[in-house]
């Protein structure tokens, strides 16, 4: 029996705990688990009722289209964001009441910050960034797909497997309690004998491998698949940041995979990498983990900077200021980001000279970062600024991100870090850079590129409500934490004894309510937009008077992206055509297009990886072995496939493209005054205000 089910039995669900020991703590856990189960059931019911299984399978799960894969990444990101924000709000509510206690148990609180951190970094921020890169980069460089479309699917499958395991951990068993960084020896077998750290390991390892494969894919795509004339110094800034992030993914993800697997060896096979005894050393873990951890935050934030570059130029109707500076700054950050990881443990007892070296390296990053912020300001300067949703986010970013930058410079000083490390000051700092920096950019980017993928704009008014709520909610929730940190309140505290912390904790708790409203408004915005997709439709494909290539095609973008691969002659390629000639001319001839065939490889790998991870967590060896063998078999079977592409005849492309061109030529473009009106069908007219 125990062989068949490993360590699993019926007592591991939070429902059993809620029945055995009713109370706020167990009810919150059981409620969360219930939501996951209900959500899954509702989803299955929805798909069955509306007969969506077929389309889901054909058009999404087996598709190797980079845009579809990107969208699926973003869906994972948004779903996990909902969970992560809910957990954050529960933690804030708990801490607001945590003077000498609080409603949740200490262990439950620890599970919350551990899942929240792991989810937010690896299953919210990373999927949103990778999803957006997937959607946008091939369109910006004039490519038909990623260099390796099927490997792209595999990356998605691995990431989804990690996310799935995290969701399962909510219903079956308990998660790790040592934070998202999972420092041993606390997370070792001796001190955490349960399944928690194993859940963490088997969520992180597949996601890490998936992200590394994404990095390879993006880098090769940008190196090899650019349209003729798309020289490096003509690439849109978002693509530049994607390139830097891609290279960083390749170098930064292996360390976390390795450190997690070493921890697994300690836990499963009695190794002594990080144990207290027999020469194990936890400092080695911290070292390897942060060789990933620090570059990771720049992997997330560089593409966010890319979004700001696109948004600031488009919505101020201006060329990007300082393109070469921005490129140099991006590259500089990508390189320096690998030389600063030690600032995460200035307090580990190394000599002052080591701390000085890494402290100064950390500060140096502030220079190119500052340059980027000034460059965006100069882009807006003497422009014609339209306060659209992405611009509202950009405004929030400008004001809040520099505060995060200021506290980053403060933390770079080992002397001060000795005081505020491991306190709420640090928590405030990293939320300050991750939320206005990464999350705002992703929400802005989704708003900006959504019409390109789905063919209709998102609702501006709801979008603006959401954006302002995020900005205000952020301020109310996180700015008080700086003060609490300076007052000496340690992070990860499930209770505190000092009544002086109470007032600011209450403020932060109120802020979490605003953030919940922001999340709700974001989801409402998507819902309302789907319902009003008719009036919001922009079939001609250029709703924002865009400057780069992705706006030169219909919306939604066809599976093959470009009817003919464009020849690029300038930096803002589409803008140059719009101002210098006619961007909507039929090509002399069309050619056959080769497209990747749908395949279930990614899905099979996702299911097998989830099964293997779950089985390893619960010591169900037969299932673990089956999962691993399944992965191997799937890859081998795929290797024998000969018909991996299909051909789209030139005639078909000609018909599709011709119809669109014809519609464009009979339509009337709009000026930017009508941007947020049903008249905006995605065709931009030369603007009287901007061309005097």
């Amino acid at each position: 029996m125990s062989g068949l089910f490993g360590h699993l039995d019926w007592t591991v669900t939070p429902f059993a705990a809620a029945i055995a020991d009713p109370g706020t703590n167990t009810f919150v856990a059981a409620g969360a688990a219930g939501l996951v189960v209900l959500g899954a059931v509702a989803l299955l019911g929805f798909l069955t009722w509306f007969r969506l299984w077929g389309p889901l399978w054909r058009d999404w799960l087996t598709s190797a289209d980079h845009k579809k894969i990107g969208v699926m990444y973003c869906v994972i990101g948004i779903v996990m964001l909902a969970r992560g924000v809910a957990e954050g709000a529960v933690m804030r509510a708990h801490q607001a009441m945590a003077l000498n206690g609080g409603p949740l148990s200490a262990e439950h609180f620890a599970e919350l910050f551990s899942t929240h951190g792991t989810i937010m970094i690896l299953f919210v921020a990373a999927p949103l960034v990778i999803g957006l890169i997937n959607i946008v980069v091939p369109l910006q460089i004039g490519a038909r797909d990623m260099a390796f479309p099927v490997m792209n699917q595999v990356s998605l499958g691995l990431t989804a497997a990690g996310a799935a395991l995290l969701m399962i951990s909510l219903v079956i068993g308990r998660f790790e309690t040592g934070g998202w960084s999972a420092y041993p020896p606390y997370t070792g077998r001796v001190f955490s004998p349960g399944e928690g750290p194993d859940y963490w390991i088997w969520s992180v390892v597949p996601a890490g491998i998936g992200s590394m494969l994404s990095g390879i894919n993006f880098a090769v795509t940008i190196y090899k698949c650019r349209a003729p004339g798309m020289t490096y110094m003509r690439m849109p800034l978002f693509t530049w940041t994607a390139l830097c992030a891609a290279i960083m993914l390749v170098y930064a993800m292996p360390p976390v995979t390795v450190s997690s697997l070493m921890l697994a060896l300690d836990r499963y096979a009695g190794f002594h990498f990080f144990t207290n005894d027999l020469g194990g050393n936890m400092m080695n873990y911290a070292n390897i983990f942060w060789m990933f951890g620090h570059p990771e935050v720049y992997i997330l934030v560089l593409p966010a900077y890319g979004v700001w570059s696109e948004v600031s130029a488009t919505f101020s109707a201006k060329t990007l200021y300082g393109y070469p500076s921005l490129v140099i700054a991006t590259m500089a950050i990508a390189v320096i980001a690998f030389t600063v990881w030690l600032h995460h443990f200035f307090t580990m007892g190394q000599s002052a000279s080591v701390n000085i070296a890494f402290g100064i390296a950390t500060m140096i990053i502030a220079v190119p970062t500052g340059v980027k912020v000034y460059d965006w300001m100069a882009t807006l300067w003497r422009g014609r600024i339209r306060m659209t949703v992405p611009m509202v986010y950009l405004t929030g970013f400008f004001i809040l991100f520099v505060i995060g930058g200021l506290t980053g410079v403060i933390l770079a000083n080992p002397t001060i870090d000795y005081q505020v490390h491991n306190t709420l000051f640090l928590v405030a700092h990293f939320h300050n850079v991750l939320i206005p920096g990464v999350l705002f950019a992703m929400l802005a980017g989704i708003h900006y590129w959504f019409p390109k993928v789905f063919g209709f704009r998102l609702h501006e008014t709801w979008g603006k409500r959401a954006a302002w709520l995020w900005i205000v909610g952020f301020c109310v929730t996180f700015l008080p934490l700086y003060a609490l940190g300076l007052m000496g309140m340690p992070r990860r505290s499930s209770s505190f004894a000092d009544p002086a912390f109470v007032p600011l904790q209450l403020v932060a708790g109120a802020g979490a309510v605003i953030i919940l409203l922001a999340l709700a408004a974001t989801l409402v915005c998507y819902g309302v937009s789907i319902r009003q997709r008719g009036t919001l439709a922009v079939p001609f494909g250029d709703p924002w008077d865009g400057r780069t290539l992705e706006w030169a095609m219909p919306a939604p973008a066809p599976e093959w992206n470009f009817a003919v691969i464009p020849a690029v002659a300038a930096r803002d390629a589409f803008w140059a055509e719009k101002t210098g000639g006619d961007p909507y001319v039929a090509p002399e001839r069309y050619e056959d297009i080769e497209l990747p065939r749908p395949t279930a490889l990614g899905l099979v790998i996702c299911v097998a990886t989830t099964a293997a991870g779950f089985a390893l967590t619960w010591h169900i060896w037969w299932l673990a072995l089956s999962g691993l063998v399944g992965i191997g078999l799937a890859v081998m079977v795929r290797a024998f496939a000969t018909q991996t592409t299909r051909v789209l005849p030139a005639a078909e492309v000609a018909v599709h493209h011709g119809r669109w061109l014809e519609a464009v030529h009979t339509a009337r473009g709009i000026t930017r005054d009508a941007e947020d009106s049903p008249a905006n069908r995605g065709l931009a007219a030369p603007d009287t205000e901007v061309t005097p």
Partner: protein, 299 residues
Amino acid sequence: MRRLAVVLLVVLAAHPALAQGFLTPEGPVAAAQREHLIRVTMVTMIAVLPVLIGVPLILWRYRRGGRGAYRPGFDFSAPLEIAMWGVPAAIIVLLGTWLWQSTEALDPYEPLGTDPLQVQVIGLNWKWLFLYPDQGIASIGTLAIPAGRPVRLQLTTDTVMQSFMVPALAGQIYAMPGMVSDLNLMASRVGTLTGANTQFNGTGFAGQQVDVQVMTPDDWTAWVQGGTTAPSLDAARYARLGVAGTTAQALQALSLPDSRMHLTAPGLFASVVARYHDGAPLADRDQPGAPGFQPESTP
């Protein structure tokens, strides 16, 4: 609502001294750290303020429909470029210099004067044990030091990693099993302060605080005297401390009247560090703080 506000005000007013960050320093190290924080903040503002002020102005002046000039082709300006790179770089040169100096000056390994008081600190789950080898006493959860005398802490743990900090006196340093780290601090005034473990180490983490008593030299001598007549810290009692639990639980389990004990084995600290280096694996029951730890089994 009004009642809530009143409660808040009372709470705030009643405990002004309880929030003991380094912004209200009680010793030279924390005071220097605060000063460093202030000057770094001020100087960095040179780079931050232009954004905070400039962004609203630009957004207003160059809004669509506004009257600001429009130059869609503006994409380079040499003077602007020099300022954008030059000013942040200059700031970083200055801050980097200060960083260097202050990190050297406030190196936690550097004693703050001659003849510091030696205290050995052992982190346990979820309490701190302080050993005064020269005085022959030990103390659980309470660190008593004389005002005005430098103190040199040497830290290790006999369980997972922890981090020791008394914010009003000095910053934190990690304490790790089998290893020794140093922290030098000094209190200028008599008073009661709070210290904490800041590195999460399990369910009792939030309660792992330290009662720091800064005394006059005479009071401190008397406190030490009282310790030498307290029950002695022998191997069995030390092993009992390894069971995960709060300071209060430990005092109760050992039936101690207060935090003090008589330290009869001056080599205790060294032996705790050496435990992890004897080339043999430790069973779960010999690992303090672990769920499987059994105090009786430890030699």
